[in-house]
């Protein structure tokens, strides 16, 4: 049972490039989330999904997009990378509104 799997673990992007951060869970959880973690700022919710085909904005959605075509996958898309998007990104899943399981994170640097 892998839990929540994030790929890649590290990535360096140039300004203006695009990329997709992958997140997959094998626990059949309905709820999935993307957070970014910056020093001294805690975790900020970017987007979340309550089920396949349903997504909603969190606290800091600008510059990001998501999709949820299946229960298992919740990719996060950066279309035009900016230095302000340098951060550690965490994906999480939950069966309802409790019991969150976090992935191991993706460290992204935009230069």
């Amino acid at each position: 049972n892998a839990g929540v799997t994030q790929t890649p673990k590290f990535r360096i992007l140039k300004i203006g490039q695009s990329m997709t951060l992958q997140c997959a869970q094998d626990m059949n959880h309905n709820y999935m989330y993307w957070y970014r973690q910056d020093p001294g700022m805690g975790l900020k919710l970017i987007y979340y999904s309550v089920g396949a085909g349903i997504t909603d904005k969190g606290e800091v959605p600008n510059g990001y997009n998501v999709s949820r075509s299946t229960t298992e996958d919740f990719p996060l898309r950066l279309e035009l990378a900016a230095p302000s998007q340098t951060s550690v990104y965490f994906c999480a899943s939950s069966p309802l509104t409790n019991g969150y399981t976090f992935g191991s994170g993706t460290r992204l640097t935009v230069v």
Partner: protein
């Protein structure tokens, strides 16, 4: 806007000292409350959670937290810290049935041996 506030950004303690980390939230309705811990280089792990019932919640590794509804608080406590408790601690709240887990800014705990 819904928010979570942790009072201390950086706490330094000696081993065996008692710990209390403050957490307040701004939401008037029903809440689910959590404390997470993040050890250096690792992802978040759940310490304890409160949904309903006894407001004093016991978690892993000797941690406990008390929900005081009238104060909108959910403070984390441990009677005697160990060096291995050095980590960052996050309070988090789900307001109502929103499904959104909102985090505080975190408290870095450093325990000196």
């Amino acid at each position: 806007a819904q928010s979570v506030s942790q009072h201390n950004h950086h706490v330094i303690l000696s081993e065996a000292a008692s710990l209390e980390l403050g957490c307040n939230y701004s939401y008037g309705g029903t809440v689910n409350l959590f404390w997470y811990v993040q050890y250096p280089g690792q992802h978040l792990q759940l310490l304890l959670k409160y949904f309903s019932g006894d407001p004093l919640v016991k978690g892993i590794k000797g941690f406990e937290a008390e929900f005081i509804k009238s104060k909108f608080s959910f403070n984390l406590r441990k009677p005697s810290v160990q060096w291995s408790d050095t980590a960052e601690y996050f309070c988090a709240v789900i307001p109502g049935n929103t499904g959104k887990l909102i985090f505080g800014q975190g408290t870095t705990l450093q325990v000196k041996p």
